[in-house]
């Protein structure tokens, strides 16, 4: 199915291509622009969905999502700082995004921790606080800095895959594959933790370690995808839900399948974003939110 989605996405675009008789221009369109974008979309979708799936399992909260916990906004702020101060370094953006995502996660985690252990409601609330706080810093930056310089940035904040390059793709590919494998390796302890952290400890699960790994890897996945494509919303929320509806809640299945389904979802959403008002474009984040939000309300009511 992922392959089918990729094929569909590559064959549709604002320019029609004769696939068996490519001119130089068409080859360039296909290999320099469309292919990197589709592949990047797949990696971003996989990263966000896998991160969402494991965070939901870890926090035993179906609403846990990179965006809700402030991880994405941390990454966005990091990317913005890199963009403002270290524009010339290629690696500055993903590194700062990762640092931002990690810091946001750490802050939320520290805020939510209490003597009694980890309180799930408190964690989600902390996430909301950190998210809004970081948003306001981002708004502050965009208002203070020269408008022309950050014009691109505000567009990118909505989730925009049009700046895809092969090098950006390799980085995100590496992160998404590595991240999904690591998260998959934590699936069994996550399954036990879903029953309850105390029960999991009785089964010999090192809860703290699992938590650290999942938070760390989720930050890595979200950081690299935000650095590459901005904030593509709802993927980490919707995709794992749909996967759970069809295969149950065993994380050994949910995590890898979410990655695949997330890739399909973003690739198809971006195909719509690229073509629906061609030759103009929409940000992909608008499409995922447009599909994601109503679907989420439906799921919420059904449960």
């Amino acid at each position: 199915m992922l392959i089918a989605a990729l094929v569909i996405a590559v064959s549709i675009g604002s320019e029609r291509l004769a696939f068996f008789d490519l001119s130089d221009t068409q080859r360039s369109i296909l290999f320099d622009i469309r292919l990197p974008r589709v592949l990047l979309g797949a990696c971003v979708g996989a990263s966000l969905a896998a991160a969402g799936a494991s965070l939901q399992a870890l926090l035993r909260n179906p609403l846990a999502e990179p965006y809700l916990l402030g991880v994405s906004n941390g990454a966005a702020l990091g990317t913005m700082l890199a963009f403002v101060f270290f524009e010339q370094f290629f690696f500055a953006r993903p590194l700062f995004a990762l640092a931002g995502a990690g810091l946001a996660t750490f802050t939320v985690y520290q805020m939510a921790r209490s003597r009694a252990g980890m309180n799930v409601e408190r964690l989600v609330l902390s996430g909301v606080i950190v998210t809004t706080f970081l948003s306001s810093i981002i708004v502050l930056f965009t208002s203070l800095l020269d408008a022309a310089r950050l014009r691109g940035f505000t567009f990118w904040l909505l989730g925009d895959l049009s700046q895809a390059t092969m090098s950006g793709f390799y980085l995100t590919l590496g992160a998404s594959v590595l991240g999904t494998i690591v998260l998959r390796s934590q699936a069994r302890p996550l399954n036990l933790m879903m029953i309850g952290e105390r029960d999991a400890m009785d089964f010999g699960v090192e809860v703290g370690r699992v938590r650290l790994i999942v938070f760390g890897i989720a930050s890595l996945l979200v950081g690299t995808s935000v650095a590459a494509s901005g904030s593509v919303g709802y993927v980490g929320l919707i995709v794992p839900h749909l996967v759970r509806l069809s295969v149950g809640s065993d994380n050994r299945l949910v995590v890898p399948l979410s990655a695949i389904a997330g890739a399909i979802f973003v690739v198809l959403a971006d195909t719509v974003a690229r073509t629906v008002i061609a030759p103009r474009e929409l940000p992909v984040g608008a499409i995922t939110a447009l599909i994601g939000a109503p679907l989420f309300i439906y799921l919420l009511r059904r449960n």
Binding site: G13, S14, E15, D24, T25, Q26, S28, I29, D32, I33, R34, D146, A148, R149, L150, R151, G152, F155, W156, D160, S162, Q163, R274, I277, A278, P279, R280, E281
Partner: protein, 326 residues
């Protein structure tokens, strides 16, 4: 004095409603209600006698009927293009407020700033007691002009879509500020310069069969790739300069264009609106004739982004770039 003024009255009434509504405890409703009350009151004449000013009826670019004083003494411009126009017709000394973007001519530095074009400070505007406010629909909002109208300040909207529209606006400004002679001279001068460009373009086009006009891509920002579309005055300007905008059939004024499409456009000339995020052509143009032949030109962003009198400077510069064989 304070309580006799319009704002003073509103403050008191506003406050009273606020207290009443606190019992109902809906904060948003309170704000909404007090706004409605303020708006309703604003429609009624207030018993403070305002100085009688003789007004006349004019129509602005949106076809709205606007009552402006016969003699405009205090005006505010909320767009750099309008500031430049008002100075060009010799009425710059009657501007009491401009935006932070208004940086031309140099005299604008001494004029009070009322915020930027998107978020002007309405309190400051009212405090400056303008008779007329000039806004351009290119960047400004309806709700805002409504508030000003309720304050008894005339709001005049200009919306030039072509170079001729800009010249027409200059004539209108001359009429409004009673400086028609200066405005007329300015327009004749600009028309002369436009026709020189046009004539040279004609000469450039000969001998027949004339070479096709160069295909021009105007890049506003590199990443994301923004350009001009069919609703931008720049599409027409490029045509007048002897070129052919390759994005002239794309909808809207300033679209973000697909990189695939841009790559297939193969422009002969790329014009860069000179700004920090637009220092070179997008990578998708690396195989285009423009980049291969080194025909990439930067143009001052201020002069090509403002539909004001300096648009003719932009026209001359684009024409020169299009004609230079490298």
């Amino acid at each position: 004095m304070f309580f006799g003024s319009k704002t003073g009255r509103f403050l008191i009434l506003d406050f009273r409603f606020w207290i009443l509504d606190l019992k109902n405890s809906s904060y948003k409703l309170t704000v909404l209600l007090s706004l409605v009350v303020m708006a309703a009151l604003a429609c009624h004449p207030v018993d403070v006698p305002s100085p009688v000013v003789e007004t006349r009826e004019v129509r602005d670019d949106l076809g709205r009927v606007v009552y402006v004083p016969v003699k405009i003494e205090r005006a505010i411009s909320l767009a750099p293009s309008l500031t430049e126009m008002i100075f060009a017709v010799g009425a710059g000394d009657r501007l009491v407020g401009v935006t932070t973007y208004c940086n031309y001519p140099a005299e604008t530095a001494a004029i009070e700033k009322v915020g930027d074009t998107q978020t002007p400070n309405i309190e400051k505007i009212i405090a400056l007691r303008p008779q007329v406010i000039f806004i351009s629909t290119a960047s400004q909002l309806e709700a805002f002009s409504k508030t000003l109208g309720e304050q008894g300040i005339a709001v005049y909207v200009t919306n030039p879509k072509t170079l001729d529209g800009v010249l027409e606006n200059l004539r209108q400004m001359g009429d409004l500020f009673e400086t028609s002679d200066i405005a007329r001279k300015k327009v004749i001068d600009l028309e002369g310069r436009v026709s020189i460009v046009w004539n040279e373009f004609q000469r450039f086009g000969d001998p027949r069969p004339s070479p096709r006009p160069p295909k021009v891509f105007l890049q506003i920002s590199r990443d994301p790739l923004f350009t001009i579309g069919n609703e931008s005055f720049l599409t027409e300007l490029i045509e007048k300069a002897g070129g052919d905008s390759v994005t002239s059939n794309v909808a809207t004024a300033y679209p973000k264009i697909s990189k695939e499409t841009a790559l297939a456009l193969k422009p002969d000339v790329i014009l860069l609106s000179d700004s920090e995020d637009n220092t070179g052509p997008s990578d998708v143009f690396k195989d285009s004739p423009a980049v291969k032949n080194g025909r990439v030109y930067k143009i001052n962003a201020d002069i090509i982004s403002r539909p004001g009198p300096r648009l003719v400077d932009a026209l001359e510069e684009i024409a020169k770039d299009l004609r230079s064989k490298n």
